[in-house]
């Protein structure tokens, strides 16, 4: 069945801004609990609109679970909005 937990957790994110297809790349993020997660791979980055605000949605993995990070381009904030089950 569904393997995702929906969250709305403000997180601190270390990201690089360069060029290429994904100019913005989250590298690692720290959750409210203090746990740090290294981003191993970006699955897909897509924009989504909340009214006229653009949110960039990053579906990423640390190699054990998938996460969704959302970057609000107006407020310059990052939120962790989904966490999936861990697979072996």
């Amino acid at each position: 069945m569904n393997d995702e937990t929906f969250l709305n957790e403000r997180v601190e994110v270390l990201a690089s801004f360069g060029d290429g297809l994904n100019p913005c790349k989250p590298i690692r993020f720290r959750r409210l609990s203090g746990r740090e997660i290294m981003v191993e791979k970006i699955g897909l980055r897509h924009p989504a609109n909340k009214g006229t605000r653009t949110i960039h949605v990053f579906d990423v993995t640390d190699g054990g679970a998938d996460y969704r990070l959302e970057f609000d381009t107006e407020r310059l904030t990052w939120h962790l909005t989904r966490e999936a089950d861990h697979y072996e």
């Binding site: 069945m1 009214g51 697979y87």
Partner: protein, 410 residues
Amino acid sequence: MNSGYNNERPLVMHIDLNSCFATVEQQSRPMLRGRPVAVVNRRTENTSIVTASYEAKAMGVSVGMRVKEAVKLAPGLVTLESDPAKYRFVYHKMMGIMKRYSPHITMKSIDEGVIDFHQTTDDIRSRNLVDIGYEMKQRLRDEIGEAMRCNVGISTNRFLAKTAASLHKPDGLDVIDHENLRATLGRLKLTDLTGIAGRNQQRLNAVGIFTPLEFLDTDAHALHTMVFKSILGEQWHQRLRGFEVDDVTHDLKTVGRQYVLETKTLSFGEITRRLHHLCESVGGKLRSQNNVARGVFVYAKSNSQGYWHARHMCDLPFFSNSAIYAQAMMLFAGAPPDIREIGISCYELSDDTGDQLSLFGDQLAREQHVTEAIDDINKRFGDRTIHSADTLGTGIYVKQKIPFGSTRYL
């Protein structure tokens, strides 16, 4: 034997994303790659599967199957709720890639499109289309992600290009031309042909046509007079021979939405609140195309009394959510009990020129201004920032889902 087939160079390419939504989910969530995945519109056991990944299909899961049946076939099946924004992004990416090769592209649905190379530049047309097909597959992987796969079909018309794209799934590339037409159709069943299912299959079987080759060998007159009893017979005769008959655009005739109730125990009031939500959604779609309507059609599927519908045609055009809902409610008063599904559509659409509405006085002008103001606010701050108080709380059930058949609202 092959006289009468279109022997021009194949210049129509059909691109079809494989198991589109499931593939996009596997692209965005790397841990799901290689696992059985199903995309659904609602997270319940009774919901039907919209798309299944190839891993799930290999275990017997098919589109339309209920989740509770699918998990018996595929233990460990991961079901995900559809994510329209993500699919819309991939759709626009795919369209962008296609537009680099020709300005003449047609998106047939959210996961398939057609490129017509007849009127593109000489540089592109002089290239081998098979090479272009492989290049597009690579671009899809480079620009969206490595898990993306598509089928490519090349032929002389849209129908045969689509047929070619369905020959080797996933990730195939095939060409059908006048030389391999008979051999290709000889390997297919009648129902493998797009547009041949149910009634059309019965029509063909009734006159002794059971295979695509028998269909191909039937003359146009027989197809017109004995099978389809209309111009469709000649069109099928041309279509099967590789001549283009499907390069047509259809005007928008109706705008509608439907909803399968989340439980069987909703009261009539709760059902009409969901109907109200659908009316607001249909009103938004109607106005997004700058249309007004004159007719409203509602239907309900009842467990005990089957299918019920009612319609009403107005003298004056309307456009507002409240006007649509008022008529829908008037009709819905006659709906049967024990409902499991509801739907509403507006018909007799015409362009909203503004002039025709202004003829009908201040009240209509006020309604127009209020509706425009609400639409502006919702556009600026997000869908359903302002909506009727009656539909407060219905949003978690009646969510906007991705339209499979139409690309108008993408």
